[in-house]
């Protein structure tokens, strides 16, 4: 099973600033995803992080607001740009080695924008 280290675990940020969240996996994985979980809500997929190419974003999410990098098969970052209080959420990294294995999740980053 994959072990995921997600940093930071929480942060309080000023509106208008940006925060970069890191996701480090202890093994090479095919698929990496970023999800958002707004307070008391379900998880919504932001994007698929593609190794060596631009991320694939879901409807309602754009690269300028949530730039994603994935330089190799074990690491990805998600940046939340020009933050507003509406961006206050838990952001989770998820990985899957292939379709026949379970999805593993990081412990999440709790972001509060003030």
């Amino acid at each position: 099973s994959a072990v995921i280290s997600q940093k930071p675990s929480r942060d309080i940020c000023q509106r208008g600033t940006s925060l970069t969240i890191q996701c480090q996996v202890d093994s090479q994985v095919t698929m990496m995803f970023w999800y958002r979980q707004q307070p008391g809500q379900s998880l919504t997929l932001i994007a698929t992080a593609n190794q060596g190419s631009e991320a694939t974003y879901e409807s309602g999410f754009v690269i300028d607001k949530f730039p994603i990098s994935r330089p190799n098969l074990t690491f990805s970052t998600l940046t939340v740009s020009n933050m507003s209080p509406e961006d206050s959420s838990i952001y989770l990294c998820s990985v899957r080695e292939d379709m026949n294995t379970e999805a593993f999740f990081g412990q999440g980053t709790r972001l509060t924008v003030v």
Binding site: T30, M31, F33, Y35, Q41, S42, L43, T44, L45, T48, T56, I90, L92, S94, R96, M99, E102, A103, F105, Q107, G108, R110
Partner: protein
């Protein structure tokens, strides 16, 4: 697009009793996976159980079992002998096995908060 619906925002159960969480989904696909995830206050998402749509036999994992009704698009989770550690938010999730743009992505229901009382 797929949708997943959990109609029970909150449930409670006494320790050692049995509780069933409901989930329905909508899809036009025939090949997919269904999951139940548990999210305790620690925020860590933990896989509870998974079901492949092509399998008629309901999945079981120790005290956890599912009732998968493919025609009705229903996927309920039964927790037997409930324990205090089962207290968490439970999410039902769908994943297409069709490939393409849906490859590997999970669609989650709204979640059900389960509280186990001593």
């Amino acid at each position: 697009a797929q949708t997943v619906t959990q109609s029970q925002p909150e449930m409670s159960v006494q320790e050692a009793e049995t509780v069933t969480l409901s989930c329905t989904y909508d899809t036009s696909e025939s090949n997919y996976y269904l999951f139940w995830y548990k999210q305790p206050p620690s925020r860590q998402m933990i896989l509870v159980i998974r079901q492949e749509a092509y399998k008629q036999q309901n999945a079981t994992e120790n005290r956890f079992s599912v009732n998968f009704q493919k025609a009705a698009k229903s996927f309920s989770l039964k927790i037997s002998d409930s324990q205090l550690g089962d207290t968490a938010m439970y999410f039902c999730a769908f994943m297409s096995n069709a490939g393409g743009t849906s490859y590997g992505k999970l669609t989650f229901g709204q979640g059900t908060i389960l509280t186990v009382h001593p």
